[in-house]
Amino acid sequence: MKRESRQKVRESLVSFPSLFWLSLFFIVPTLFVFAIALKPANPYGGIGSGWTWDNLRSLVNPNYLAVAWRTLWISVLSAAVCIVLATPIGYYLARVTARWKGFFLMLIIVPFWTNFLIRIFAWKVLLHPEGAIKKALAFSGLIGPQTSLLYNAGAVVLVTVYTFLPFTILPIYAAAEKFDFQLLEAARDLGAKRLQAFAKVFLPGIRRGLITAVLFVFIPALGSYVIPDIVGGPSGEMIGNKIAQRVFVDRNLPQASALSIVLILSVLAPLVTVLVLQRKRDKPESLL
C-alpha cells in the first residue's frame, strides 16, 4: 500500500514537466480566449473595456447554426469513412509478412514528405472542372458535365479523409499488431463466420486503437480551417472559416473568441466522455 502511494508520487513527479508545458501553452491561452469572449469589441479591431454577454448571445443565429451543423456532420462522416477504410488496412498490415509490412508502412508515410498545403492544392488541381478526374468522370457519364467536384462539402470530406487516413491507420495497425490472431481461429472454430469473428472478436480486441483513431480524425476535423478554405467554397464552410473571417475580415476578436469557445467545448466533450468511459471499462471488476 505504502509502496503504491510512493510510486504514485513518483509518477506525478515525472509528469510535472508536461503538466507545466500544457498549462503554460494551452490552459492559460484558453482562459484568455474565454475572457476575451466576454469583452466588447472596439471599432479599431481591438478589445473594448467592460464585460458583456453579447458575443455569446449573437452565436444563436441560423447562419452559425447551419455552419456548426455542417462542421459536425463533415467531421463525423470523415471519421466514419476513415475508420471503415483504416480497419481492414490495419488488419492486413498486421498479418502480412515483415517485408511487405515495411513496404506498405512506407507507402503510408511517404506522402508526409510533401508539405500538407501543397498536397491540398494538388487536390484542387485534380478536382478542378478542367482537371483529369472531372473530365474522366464526365466522359464516362458517371456525373453530368455541370456537376462540380470542387467547392462543396463533399470535397472537404474527401480531402479530410485523405489527410487523416494515415493517422487512423497507424493506431489501428498498432493495436492489431498486439492482437492475438489465434482468437479469430478460436471464434471460427466455435462456429463464427469470417465476418462474425471479425466483428465479435477482432474489433473489440483493437478497441483502444479504434478510439484513438476516431479522435485523431474527429477532433482536427472539427477545427478544420485550411481544407475547407481551399477546397470547400461557401457551401463547404466550417466553424474554423467563420473564426478566421471574424479575425481577418471583421477584425472582431471577441466574436472570434466566442466561436472558439464553442469549438473548444465541442472538442473537449467527446474527449472527456471517451476518457471516462475507457477508465470505467478498464477497471477490473474485483476492484469495484
Partner: protein, 390 residues
C-alpha cells in the same frame, strides 16, 4: 467398429518443411486417441487439418463418413482446445462459454441453461463473471474445455492442453480430463509430446516422427512391443544392444551374439535368420540385478557385470553397469528393505539377468534419432558405448 475420424494419405508442406507426410490414420468413435511425438514432428499441423485451419496438399479428412477436407472451420462439428487456450479477453467466463451458442443464434433460455450446466461440469459457477486475465492457468483451461464442449462437437481436439500448467496442476487436470471424457463420451484427439500424459489418458496412441506415423497401438502395445527403434527410444528408457543372430532355438527364439556375450536368447517375432544383424532393445526395469548369481533357467540370460553409476530415486534405484564393454541401464524396484542385506554399491561385482521374452529385436535406429537415446555421461578414456555407431 469403423473409423469415425479418418486421415487418408494426408500430406501438408510449409515451404521446404514437410510437416505431415502421407499420414493415414483412423480414430474410432468415443476413443481417447493421442498423437505423441517430439516437438516439430507435425502434431499441431494434424490437429489444424482436422479443425479446418489448414487444408492438406493431398489426401482427405473424413468425419463420420463425410469428406470434410474442404469444409471451413465453422462448419465442422469439431472443436479445439488451443495450446494457449485462446479465451476471448474482452468477454467474461460466462460469455466465453456462451460464444458458440450465441453465434448459432440459440434462444436465450437455451443458452442460459446450457452455460449453467457447463459451469457446473467444470465447477466454476462462482467465477462466471470473471475475465480471463483474472483466472489461474487451470481455470482458464477448464473454461476453454467448457467453451468447446458446449457446441457438442463430434470430436474434441486438444493441443498440448496441459503443457502450460505446473506439475501438480497437470496431474489434477489429467484426472479431470479423463473424467470429462468419461462423462461426455465424445471422441478426443489429444496432442502431446509428453509420453506420461499419453500413456495415462489414451485408449490408443499414434507415435509420430518427422510428419509420419511410426506406430499406432494401445499404450501397453507401444511400450511393450515398439515396432521401430524410434518408438522404443522415445517411449520410456531402453538399452540398445547391437548384435548378430547366430542360431535358432525351438523356432520361436533365436540366439544372438552381442559384443562377446555368446548365445543371448531372444524372442524371435521378426523371423530373423542366422547371420542377420539385429538391434536388441531391453527396458531397464526388465533386467534384474543382484550380488548373488541367480539360478540357471530356460530362456534366462545371465551376465556378470560391474556397477559403474547408481542413482537412488526413492521407490527405485537406477544402475549403470558395465559388462563385456557394454554399458547397460538397470532399474530396480525396492520391494523390501532388508537391514541385513548388503546393498549394491559402486564398483561391486553383480549379476544381471533377463528373460528371453523381455528383449525385442529392432532395426537399427537412424542417425537422426540418436539424440533420443538418453546416454549417461561417459567417463574420459572409456571405450565406446553400446549405443554408438560401430
Amino acid at each position: 467398429m469403423s473409423e469415425f475420424l479418418e486421415f487418408r494419405n494426408v500430406s501438408k508442406r510449409f515451404g521446404a518443411i514437410q510437416a505431415v507426410d502421407g499420414v493415414s490414420l483412423g480414430i474410432k468413435k468415443g476413443e481417447f486417441f493421442s498423437l505423441l511425438g517430439p516437438s516439430g514432428c507435425g502434431k499441431t499441423t494434424m490437429l489444424r487439418l482436422a479443425a479446418g485451419f489448414e487444408y492438406p496438399d493431398t489426401g482427405q479428412v473424413i468425419l463420420d463418413g463425410a469428406d470434410i477436407t474442404d469444409l471451413s472451420p465453422n462448419k465442422r462439428k469439431v472443436n479445439t482446445i488451443f495450446q494457449s487456450y485462446a479465451l476471448f479477453p474482452h468477454l467474461n467466463v460466462w460469455e466465453n462459454i456462451a460464444f458458440g451458442l450465441r453465434v448459432a443464434k440459440r434462444s436465450k433460455r437455451d443458452i442460459e441453461t446450457e452455460v449453467e450446466a457447463m459451469l457446473r461440469l467444470i465447477r466454476m459457477g462462482d467465477q462466471a463473471g470473471k475475465k480471463p486475465d483474472q483466472l489461474s492457468g487451470g481455470q482458464k483451461q477448464r473454461v476453454a474445455i467448457a467453451r468447446a464442449l458446449i457446441n457438442k462437437p463430434q470430436v474434441l481436439l486438444l493441443d498440448e492442453p496441459l503443457a502450460a500448467l505446473d506439475l501438480k496442476l497437470r496431474q489434477r487436470m489429467l484426472i479431470e480430463l479423463d473424467m470429462i471424457h468419461d462423462q461426455v463420451g465424445i471422441t478426443f484427439l489429444y496432442v502431446t509430446h509428453d509420453q506420461g500424459e499419453a500413456m495415462s489418458l489414451s485408449d490408443r496412441i499414434a507415435v509420430m516422427d518427422s510428419g509420419r506415423i511410426e506406430q499406432v497401438g494401445s499404450p501397453a502395445e507401444i511400450y511393450e512391443t515398439p515396432r521401430t527403434s524410434f518408438v522404443a527410444a522415445f517411449i520410456g528408457d531402453t538399452n540398445f544392444l547391437e548384435g548378430e543372430v547366430t542360431g535358432l532355438v525351438e523356432s520361436e527364439y533365436c540366439q544372438v551374439k552381442i559384443a562377446d556375450i555368446p548365445g543371448v536368447i531372444c524372442f524371435n517375432d521378426k523371423s530373423m535368420k542366422p547371420g542377420n544383424p539385429v538391434y536388441l532393445s531391453i527396458r531397464p526395469e526388465k533386467i534384474h540385478i543382484s550380488r548373488d548369481r541367480p539360478e540357471e533357467s530356460r530362456l534366462r540370460n545371465i551376465v556378470p557385470a560391474v556397477v559403474e553409476d547408481m542413482i537412488y530415486l526413492g521407490s527405485t534405484t537406477k544402475y549403470w553397469v558395465r559388462t563385456h564393454g557394454l554399458r547397460v541401464q538397470v532399474l530396480r524396484q525396492h520391494f523390501r528393505f532388508f537391514l541385513d542385506e548388503k546393498p549394491i554399491r559402486w564398483n561391486d561385482d553383480v549379476w544381471i539377468w533377463w528373460h528371453g521374452d523381455d528383449g525385442f529385436m529392432l532395426d537399427r535406429y537412424r542417425a537422426v534419432d540418436e539424440h533420443l537415446v538418453a546416454l549417461p555421461p561417459r567417463k574420459v578414456g572409456e571405450p565406446e558405448d553400446n549405443n554408438e555407431k560401430p
